[in-house]
C-alpha cells in the first residue's frame, strides 16, 4: 500500500541545513494501521508532507523512495499522491478557508479526484456528513467554517478525507486541538469509519494513549530517525529502545504526552553525530557518538535502533 524507504529530508535555513528526516523506513499494509509517535519537532508532520507531496519550497530529498500503490511518488511526478490520499490535518481551525463554504471546499477536491457529476458529489458528501454525525448534514454543505465548532470541523475534515474514496488516510495529530471528550469521540469515529471501509491509516501523534487506541503497529520517531518499530502491543509491553522505555516508564498510564525525559529534541540544524539520542541516553556507550546504530530485528517484526537494547536502565532513569 504505502512504503517509505530510507527517506531523508533536508531544508536549507538561515542557520545551516536542517536534517529533518534521516533514512526513515516504514510501511502501512493494505487495511493496516500504523502510528507514528514522537515528541514535537521530531519530524512527524514533515513525513506526512513528503507523503502528501506538499513539502515546503527549498526542501531537498537527497535519498529515499515513497511507494504508493506500487509507484514511487517522489520520482514520478505524474504519480503524485495529491488528492489520492485522504488527509486529516492537525488544526481544524486553520485548515479550512474561512471565505468558502464547507461544501465548496470539499467539492473542489472531488471535482478533480472523484468520479461522477457535481450532483453525485453533493449527495455523497451529504451522506458522509451524516456518517461523521454532523448535525443537519444537508445544510452543512452551505455553511462557512466559522459556523461550526472545533469538533464539528474535525468531523468535517474527516468527511473531506474520505470524499474521494482514498485507499489510505493519513492523520496529523487530528485531536490535539480538541478537548478530551471531543478527542475520544473523534478517535472512535475515525476508527469505526476506517475499519468499516477497510482503509489503511497512517496516524501521527505525540500521545501513546491515543496511539494504543487506534493503531496495530507503531514507529517511534526520535529526531528524524526511527528508534523502534513493531506491533503496538509488543512495543508497549516490552519496549526495547532506551527512549521508548523511558517514555513508557515515566508514564505508566501511557496517556500522557512525551515531555517527561530530561533534555530536549535537538534542533534539526544541529543533529548530534552517531545515535541522535546519545546526549540524553542513560545507557550511552563510547561508540554511540560515532556510529549510527543500525536497525536490529527482534521477534515478529519488532526492530530497534540500539545495539544495547538488552541492557537494563539504571534506576533513576525510570523514576
Amino acid at each position: 500500500m504505502l512504503s517509505v524507504e530510507g527517506l531523508s529530508v533536508r531544508i536549507g535555513t538561515g542557520r545551516g541545513q536542517a536534517r529533518i528526516l534521516d533514512e526513515v523506513t516504514l510501511s502501512v499494509p493494505r487495511g493496516g494501521t500504523l502510528g507514528v509517535v514522537g515528541e514535537s519537532g521530531c519530524g512527524k508532520s514533515t513525513l506526512l508532507r513528503a507523503i502528501l507531496g506538499i513539502l515546503p519550497r527549498g526542501t531537498q530529498v537527497p535519498a529515499g523512495a515513497i511507494l504508493f500503490e506500487g509507484r514511487d511518488i517522489l520520482a514520478d511526478r505524474a504519480a503524485s499522491a495529491r488528492g489520492r490520499i485522504g488527509f486529516i490535518p492537525q488544526d481544524p481551525y486553520l485548515s479550512l478557508n474561512p471565505v468558502f463554504t464547507a461544501g465548496a471546499q470539499i467539492l473542489e477536491a472531488m471535482r478533480h479526484h472523484a468520479p461522477g457529476t457535481r450532483r453525485d458529489h453533493k449527495a455523497k458528501l451529504a451522506e458522509l456528513f451524516r456518517a461523521v454525525q454532523l448535525p443537519d448534514p444537508e445544510a452543512a454543505l452551505d455553511k462557512y467554517p466559522h459556523e461550526f465548532s472545533g469538533g464539528q470541523r474535525q468531523r468535517l475534515l474527516i468527511a473531506a478525507a474520505l470524499a474521494c474514496d482514498p485507499a489510505l488516510v493519513v492523520a496529523d495529530e487530528p485531536t490535539t486541538a480538541l478537548d478530551v471528550t471531543t478527542q475520544r469521540e473523534i478517535l472512535a469515529l475515525l476508527r469505526q469509519l476506517t475499519a468499516a471501509r477497510g482503509l489503511s491509516l497512517l496516524f501521527v501523534t505525540h500521545d501513546f494513549g491515543v496511539l494504543a487506541a487506534v493503531c496495530e503497529r507503531v514507529a517511534v520517531l526520535y529526531a528524524g530517525r526511527v528508534a523502534e518499530t513493531g506491533l503496538t502491543r509488543a512495543v508497549l509491553d516490552d519496549p526495547r529502545h532506551p527512549y521508548t522505555r523511558m517514555l513508557l516508564g515515566c508514564h505508566p498510564d501511557r496517556a500522557v504526552d512525551l515531555t517527561g525525559i530530561p533534555g530536549t529534541v535537538p534542533a534539526a540544524t544541529a543533529q548530534p553525530a552517531g545515535c541522535r539520542f546519545h546526549p540524553r541516553c542513560p545507557l550511552v556507550q563510547p561508540g554511540c557518538a560515532r556510529e549510527v546504530p543500525p536497525m536490529l530485528p527482534l521477534a515478529e517484526g519488532h526492530a530497534v535502533a540500539c545495539p544495547f537494547h538488552a541492557l537494563p536502565l539504571p534506576e533513576p532513569a525510570l523514576a
Partner: protein, 337 residues
C-alpha cells in the same frame, strides 16, 4: 446580510448629515459677511439690511441652519454667484463626466492591478515580481500632470492616434442624455460611432488617472496573496489535490483581496482629487474643471455644491465597498453583529 447592508446605510447617514452641516458652516465662514459679498462693495447699510432680510440672514443661526438643511435635501444648492444659474444644473451635467472618468480609471486600476499583484506574488522575487515592483514604484512616483502631457505629446501630437482633449468629438455631438454617462447613453442610442469616440477620448485621461491606483492595488494584492499562501488551508487544499490555477486564482485570491477591496474605498478619494488635475489638462468637462473655475472666480456656492456632491458620492462608494467586503468574506458581516 440584508441587515448588514441596512446597517451600513444607516451608519452613513450621520456622516452625510455632518457633511451638510459642514457646508452650512462653510457658507458662514468663507465669506466674512455673505450679505456684503452679495451686495457688492458699494452697498449702503440700508441695502445690506434689505439683503439680509431677503436671504434670511437676520434670522437666528439655528433657523438658518434648518433652512439650509431643508434646501439641500430638496436638491436646491442655490445659484452660482458668478453666472446666476442654479448650481444643480451644472452638477447634473458635470457629475456623470467625472464619474465616468473615475469609474473607468478604477476599473482599469483593479482589472490590471489585481492580476499583476497576483502574478507578482506567485512569481515571488522572480522577473514578473520585479516588473510589478517597477510599475508600483513608478505609478506612485510619476506626477500625473507630467504623465498626462507626455501621453498627449506621444499619442495625440506625434502619433496622432488619440484625441488631445475633451469628452467627445464636437462634430459628432453628445449622445441624447439619459444617464449622462456617454458610454451608456451612446449604447442606449445605438450609436457605436459615439461609443468608440467616447472610448478614444477616455483613453488618455483614464490611463493617467488610473496609474497611482493600479500601483497601490497591485501592491496590496501582492502582499495579500503572499500572506494567504502561508496559511494552513492552502497547504491543505494542495494536499486535497486542487488544480494549480484554480487554487491561486480563486481560492487564494478571494482571501487576499479583502484588504485590496478595503483599499478601494480610500483609493476612490484619491481618484476624485486626482481627477481635478487630469480634467484640467485634458479639458474634461467634469466637476474638477468646475471646481477650478469656482475657486478662481471665488464662487463659493458652486464650491460648496461640489464639496457636497463629492461627499455624497464618497459615502455611497464606501457603503458599496463595505457590502463588497461582506460578500467576499462572510465573517465581516458576522463581526459587526
Amino acid at each position: 446580510m440584508a441587515r448588514y447592508i441596512l446597517r451600513r446605510i444607516l451608519l452613513a447617514l450621520p456622516a452625510l448629515f455632518g457633511l451638510v452641516l459642514l457646508t452650512f458652516v462653510l457658507t458662514r465662514v468663507i465669506p466674512a459677511d455673505p450679505a456684503a459679498t452679495l451686495a457688492g462693495d458699494a452697498a449702503t447699510p440700508a441695502q445690506l439690511a434689505e439683503i439680509r432680510a431677503r436671504y434670511g440672514l437676520d434670522r437666528p443661526l439655528w433657523e438658518q441652519a434648518v433652512t439650509h438643511m431643508r434646501q439641500v435635501l430638496s436638491g436646491d444648492l442655490g445659484s452660482s454667484i458668478f453666472s446666476g444659474r442654479p448650481v444643480m444644473e451644472e452638477i447634473v451635467f458635470r457629475l456623470p463626466a467625472t464619474l465616468e472618468l473615475t469609474f473607468v480609471a478604477l476599473l482599469l486600476a483593479t482589472g490590471l492591478g489585481v492580476p499583476l499583484g497576483l502574478l507578482a506574488a506567485l512569481n515571488h522575487n522572480g522577473p514578473i515580481d520585479h516588473l510589478a515592483r517597477l510599475i508600483s514604484v513608478g505609478g506612485l512616483a510619476i506626477a500625473s500632470f507630467w504623465l498626462a502631457i507626455m501621453l498627449q505629446l506621444i499619442f495625440a501630437m506625434d502619433l496622432d492616434v488619440l484625441p488631445l482633449r475633451g469628452r467627445i468629438d464636437v462634430a459628432l455631438g453628445a449622445p441624447p442624455t439619459v444617464t449622462g454617462f456617454f458610454l451608456v447613453d451612446s449604447l442606449l442610442a445605438g450609436r457605436l460611432d459615439l461609443l468608440v469616440d467616447t472610448l478614444r477620448h477616455l483613453a488618455l485621461p483614464a490611463v493617467t488617472l488610473c496609474l497611482p491606483g493600479l500601483a497601490s492595488i497591485a501592491r496590496f494584492t501582492r502582499s495579500g496573496v503572499l500572506e494567504t499562501l502561508q496559511k494552513d488551508f492552502v497547504l491543505y487544499a494542495q494536499a486535497a489535490g486542487y488544480g494549480r490555477v484554480r487554487l491561486a486564482a480563486i481560492y487564494v485570491l478571494r482571501n487576499a483581496v479583502t484588504v485590496t477591496v478595503a483599499q478601494i474605498g480610500l483609493l476612490f478619494g484619491a481618484l476624485i482629487s486626482g481627477a481635478v488635475a487630469v480634467e484640467a489638462i485634458f479639458d474634461w468637462p467634469g466637476l474638477g474643471t468646475y471646481a477650478v473655475q469656482a475657486i478662481l472666480s471665488a464662487d463659493y456656492k458652486a464650491l460648496l455644491a461640489v464639496t457636497l456632491v463629492v461627499g455624497v458620492v464618497y459615502a455611497v462608494v464606501n457603503v458599496l465597498v463595505d457590502v463588497a467586503q461582506a460578500l467576499i468574506d462572510p465573517r465581516v458581516a458576522e463581526q459587526v453583529k
